[in-house]
Symmetry: C2
Subunit: 464 residues, 2 copies
């Protein structure tokens, strides 16, 4: 712990603010110190469960006085160690700040607390005719999704968190509370502080309220699946669909290795070849037209067995296969953990990047299925490792580093949607060079003590 | 001028960098010191016309050494005095940095220099099947549009500059050059510096290169016009169209006063009542379906004389009427200048905001037609004034202030798309309060000398 105050004193002072909702129970600390990924176990000193912004303000002020790190925590589904307590401190768990504060159906927006998950939010929106489309796979919290600039399968149609967060309430490092914007759909009023805090991973302030854009539920939804002989054919199909202005809602690539996992996990009989999963949103006539256009384009690129599912049950079976790729992938190597990677390249380079990465993984003798949000050029390789096998871990890390270097060399990014966290600090500098110094300047200006989620995005103790 | 160095010495030093492309010619200084709006005449000391980023770097370094303000300048079409040289200094005119550097049709993006205008860009894109949709009315430069976070008529479908700038090259206040991102369609790599510079009005650095998203040209375009008895009916129609997920490309409101101006200016015979102009982009079948859906919704709200124009010539005649509103408006009061306002409110409050503003203008005995990008809740009132009539100017300013206060009270913004510039510094504080202090902290961190477009967004000399 980076402070002279002991954990017991700290929890006493926190209890004065929020009563029994401050805890040092070992099981709670452990739960908040681990991540879904392969990062180190780094627990906080105390976990607090505030219920109001005012409680967050008092917690932040206390931490500022005691020079104690602050780590905001949502659903714990981040993948790059984004909530690890590298220097101990106080983990602010938003589990009890998970309410919908206002639904404005006329304006198609909603004001929520950060702890609500995307599935809880969509459950609350039932009956409004509106929905929140951002789907990163996990049932992440809206605060966490904002902080990592998350996206997922529907970004190709509905954008990422950057496009769907309208305004934030933020508690700053000194306890001041600001609102970054109003509820107008657009504004040119000064610096875009909303977008500054979206993706800042809690390193600039603590998000306590989020205003989100909602979208009208489509009248009709249909889905389709189609396999290809090569990754290149699948990617070329995806690009052609988007360029022909088909407003596809999802266009997901699953490679042959992952299709094998899916068949095995879900007892299915798909062809084990590069496969595209489509979803179309629109009017009844519109989704039919979109599916026909996509089928024709797929046929031009050697697509086989285009299967179109309109009924909800058919669709859900089809997407169920795609959505369970993490477990399907893990099934390929029983007992393994997944090192989940996340690069994004210009789509014109995607087939090349995928093909080289597939070859590299195979040559490295690693089981590493691939899935991709191919409309955006974003893909994930799940490198399956036995953490006890240090040689395998080393080969996996080297494969990952080559994959990121390849993406950056193709004018791409080291992370399409997972964030930097602990895992990609070095890659960020490889990607953006001096721009990282500008980020540091902003960090120093807003968090001069360096207490807000320390050790994330930037290397620890490097002059922040 | 805020520096001990004389203009002659300054121009000599600048000439050492860029030869004859530094000038103190009175006519050039005057052209760069005036704005299209009603702001003070504030010329720079020197105007320079760089041709490369390296020249910009050397100019910025010289200015930093001499403690000399730097004002980036595009097409000079901004409306809030955004390029006024409040403390003299060096105006960097990007007229000679107006090239398309790369078109990536496969990736649907383009890399441009800041001086290119949107119309020049679209001319260069002819034959690619792609276009750049952001249309603020004026033929603004892409650098200027980025700096003011511009939008315009097609934002309801294609977003604003915040959504369409993918990455920037920026020369910082100390002459360092950074790139804020790569060409991936999305990224979670650290702070969103792209969005920080978009809308910063040149106060944080000088933009020297812009990577923009492009969009596929729609297969088919159609347009429609329809009049209503009340502003409320027109706005309710617009909201219902958007909520029913019709992907309308433009939905523009023109009030009865402005329709009178349009009829007179363009010798047309439209009903002088609140009117919606629509544009639909999609497949042939899609635009027909969209227009039919909009017509049915308009009919439900008392819409009259729904007229649907599919042929290019018909469409262009229809939009010509809408696009010339500035001149049509000015025609309502010969010899007048227009004080152009720009608020944006949640769409549920738009009808109320418009109706109250219309009444307030009429009660103030001012000629003030209204147009609105109604899908976003954004509208402009053109308050027509004789600048020599101080009573009229005072009434116009008071009307404007009440309009902004009304918008902010409705959870809206003081500027939907024009920026803060000189004209809205006080309103920004009214709108965002302490958040403006956070903006100042960022400004100080990136521009400690306060030389980058001083006096914009923040009050002059207020501790920056």
């Amino acid at each position: 712990m980076g402070s002279p105050v002991g954990a017991t004193t700290l929890v006493e002072r926190l209890s004065a603010i929020i009563g029994l909702r401050a805890t040092v129970a070992r099981s709670v600390l452990e739960q908040h110190g681990q991540s879904e990924a392969y990062h180190r176990f780094l627990p906080p000193d105390v976990v607090v469960f505030p219920e109001t912004t005012q409680e967050v303000v008092e917690i932040v002020r206390l931490c500022a006085n005691l020079h104690m790190p602050i780590i905001p925590f949502g659903a714990g589904t981040s993948l790059e160690g984004n909530t690890a307590a590298v220097a101990g401190g106080v983990c602010i768990d938003f589990a009890r700040m998970n309410k919908v504060l206002a639904v404005h159906t006329g304006d198609m927006d909603v004001v929520v607390q950060p702890g609500i998950t995307r599935k809880q939010l969509n459950a609350e929106l039932r009956g409004t005719g509106l929905f929140f489309p951002i789907d990163p796979g996990a049932d992440a919290s809206i605060g966490g999704m904002s902080s990592t600039r998350a996206s997922g399968t529907m970004a190709v149609r509905y954008g990422t968190m950057k496009d769907n967060v309208m305004a934030l309430e933020v508690v700053l490092a000194d306890g001041r509370v600001i609102r970054t914007g109003k509820r107008a759909r657009k504004s040119s009023a000064g610096y875009d502080l909303t977008r500054l805090f979206v993706g800042a991973e809690g390193t600039l302030g603590v998000i306590t309220e989020i205003t989100l854009k909602l979208h009208p539920l489509p009248q009709a939804i249909s889905a389709a699946v189609c396999s290809f002989d090569t990754l290149q054919d699948a990617v070329d199909t995806a690009i052609a669909v988007i360029q022909s202005a088909v407003p596809v809602a999802r266009i997901e690539l699953v490679d042959d290795v992952m299709m094998r996992g899916i068949n095995s996990h879900s007892k299915l009989g798909y062809r084990e070849a590069p496969t595209l999963f489509f979803e179309f949103h629109g009017s009844e006539a519109g989704v039919a037209e979109q599916a026909e256009a996509a089928e024709a384009i797929a046929a031009d690129h050697g697509g086989r067995g285009f299967e179109w599912a309109k009924a909800a049950e058919q669709r859900s079976r089809l997407w169920h296969a795609r959505d369970n790729t993490l477990y399907a992938g893990l099934g390929l190597k029983p007992g393994a953990r997944a090192m989940i990677t996340d690069v994004c390249v210009p789509v014109s380079r995607l087939a090349e990047c995928l093909t080289e990465t597939r070859k590299d993984a195979d040559a490295s003798d690693l089981v590493a299925p691939i899935v991709g949000h191919v409309g955006d050029g974003n893909f994930h390789m799940l490198i399956l490792i036995d953490p006890a096998n240090s040689d395998e871990v080393a080969r996996a890390k080297a494969l990952h580093a080559r994959m990121v270097a390849r993406a950056i060399a193709m004018d791409g990014t080291c992370t399409g949607e997972h964030g930097i966290g602990l895992g990609k600090i070095g890659f960020l500098v490889d990607e953006l060079g001096d721009a990282v110094d500008v980020m540091r300047s902003v960090k120093r200006a807003l968090d001069p003590q360096g207490l807000m989620n320390p050790g994330k995005i930037f290397a620890e103790g490097a002059g922040i």
